[in-house]
């Protein structure tokens, strides 16, 4: 597949952003129940988000024909190239995440400054997902020239981010203490939001492509397959979490299904480029 490195880059970057948003909201809503033990467990999420973001950056560089000239993207900022803005967004998000994670890992406490830095990092994560969407919302590519492109990318961030957060929480084996209730609520809300986005996109994207006479011989079947995998994966952990069960296996299977669905969906997205007339 021609743009496989971009599939990996966008999925991983959105995963990191989604994981940070979900975990950041958990921490911001936790109030006084944050203990050193809780922070240690939440720090694992932040470190993992950093690792995933690093992997995303490596994937993006492998896409370049001249990776050693990568710094030339700075010149693109002068005319606001969407790609240069995307690199700026990922740098800002990565920098803020590194700063915040470094502080919290080192001090094992939260103060007003680190709390504000976390809020900023959450906002930068959202900005990053939109910046990536801006790159692909091109008038020259009819299949991508729609608000559904942004929606798909936010869907990816939430489906994988919430599923990964759920897995990490399930893997904490009850050590979250009082934070468990907040964590459960936030991940379920994120998961249900993701679920709604999956359904909305499944119902509308096929129609958008059909209107452009782009859908191939398989019709909308691939879209339903991707969405089905995501839905199944999300329900694998949302239902147990709502019922108050802690199921590591459910979360693991759920994450695997969601990632499979999202990767397949992203490959389908990039393949739409070949449907261009010229």
């Amino acid at each position: 597949m021609e743009h496989l490195s971009l599939v990996i880059f966008t999925v991983l970057a959105q995963c990191a952003a989604g994981l940070l948003v979900v975990t950041g909201v958990i921490q911001l809503m936790s109030g006084n129940v944050l203990t050193t033990g809780n922070l240690r467990l939440l720090n694992r999420h932040y470190v993992l988000a950093l690792v995933i973001l690093g992997a995303a950056l490596i994937a993006s560089i492998t896409h370049l024909g001249q990776p050693f000239r990568a710094m030339n993207v700075i010149y693109g900022l002068f005319h606001s190239s969407p790609l240069s803005m995307e690199i700026l967004a990922i740098s800002a998000f990565g920098g803020a995440l590194l700063l915040f994670t470094g502080f919290q890992v080192r001090t094992m406490q939260q103060n007003a400054l680190s709390r504000n830095l976390l809020i900023l990092t959450v906002l930068l994560a959202v900005a990053l997902v939109q910046a990536i969407a801006n790159v692909y919302t091109l008038s020259a590519v009819a299949a991508w020239d729609t608000s559904l492109t942004s929606l798909q990318f936010f869907r990816s961030a939430l489906t994988i981010g919430s599923s990964l957060a759920a897995l990490l929480i399930a893997g904490s084996h009850g050590r979250l203490g009082d934070l468990r209730a907040v964590a459960g609520k936030v991940t379920v809300v994120a998961g249900i939001t993701a679920l709604l986005l999956v359904v909305i996109i499944a119902m509308t994207f096929g129609g958008h492509l059909a209107g452009l006479a782009i859908t191939g011989s398989a019709g909308a079947t691939p879209l339903y397959l991707h969405s089905g995998l995501m839905l199944a994966g999300l329900l694998c952990w949302i239902i147990p979490t709502i019922k108050g069960w802690s199921s590591f296996m459910g979360a693991a299977v759920g994450l695997a299904l969601v990632v499979a669905g999202e990767v397949m969906s992203r490959m389908y997205f990039y393949d739409l480029l070949h449907a261009q007339v010229l």
């Binding site: 024909g65 010149y75 790159v135 006479a213 007339v277 010229l278």
Partner: protein, 207 residues
């Protein structure tokens, strides 16, 4: 300085592809790239008349397109390094291969398929209007090579005064998208941009 552009006479073009091959030969372009692409746009079907007789409305024509050196070039706006640029002296759009990082974003952004990745040099490449030949007073290689004299090149104001200003012919996108410096004399069967009655018949040749 003058803005240069191309004129293409679709009523003369036979789709021989001499223009494309002349360019490939002159610039030693690899097999997988075409700085000038000839799209065969065709369609139509049989229709039954009220009296039971059948008629067909099958059509086909060629559009020879390189880079249109647009007034609002999508590739330049997209370029993440500024390597893709519009020259001030002649308005031709060219890529600085020493700055290009080969991200291929320009090829996604261009609605005409002009920027193409050079897998050997690992940077982007495209029609640059033969600006070196133009500076010497010659025309681009493709224009001189056309045996039907279906191509012309010059200051776009002169071309428009001589041939009109039509550029929105299928399978090309509407000219309002990037304001191409291109004038087309439509084929008798020409369809407007956005037409759905036909399709590109030689997609494997031009992709």
């Amino acid at each position: 300085m003058a803005q240069y552009g191309f004129y293409f006479d679709s009523s003369r073009c036979t789709g021989c592809k001499t223009c494309s091959l002349a360019c490939k030969d002159f610039y030693d372009i690899s097999v997988d790239r075409d700085w000038r692409r000839i799209y065969e746009y065709g369609g139509g079907d049989w229709e039954q008349n009220k009296d039971g007789t059948w008629e067909h409305n099958v059509f086909s024509y060629y559009t020879s397109i390189s880079c249109n050196h647009c007034d609002s070039p999508a590739c330049v706006k997209a370029c993440s390094t500024g390597a893709m640029h519009k020259r001030e002296q002649d308005g031709l759009v060219a890529v600085d291969q020493d700055r290009c990082i080969g991200c291929q974003y320009c090829s996604m952004a261009c609605p005409y398929g002009a920027p193409q990745y050079d897998a050997e040099k690992k940077v982007m490449s495209k029609c640059h209007g033969c600006f070196e030949r133009v500076a010497e007073g010659s025309k681009p290689v493709c224009v001189d090579a056309c045996p039907l004299r279906a191509l012309d090149f010059g200051p776009i104001d002169e071309l428009r005064a001589k041939y009109g200003s039509e550029a929105s012919i299928a399978p090309l996108p509407d000219a309002g998208m990037t304001s191409p410096n291109l004038v087309i004399k439509p084929n008798v069967h020409a369809k407007p941009s956005g037409d759905k009655s036909g399709s590109v018949q030689n997609s494997r040749e031009v992709k």
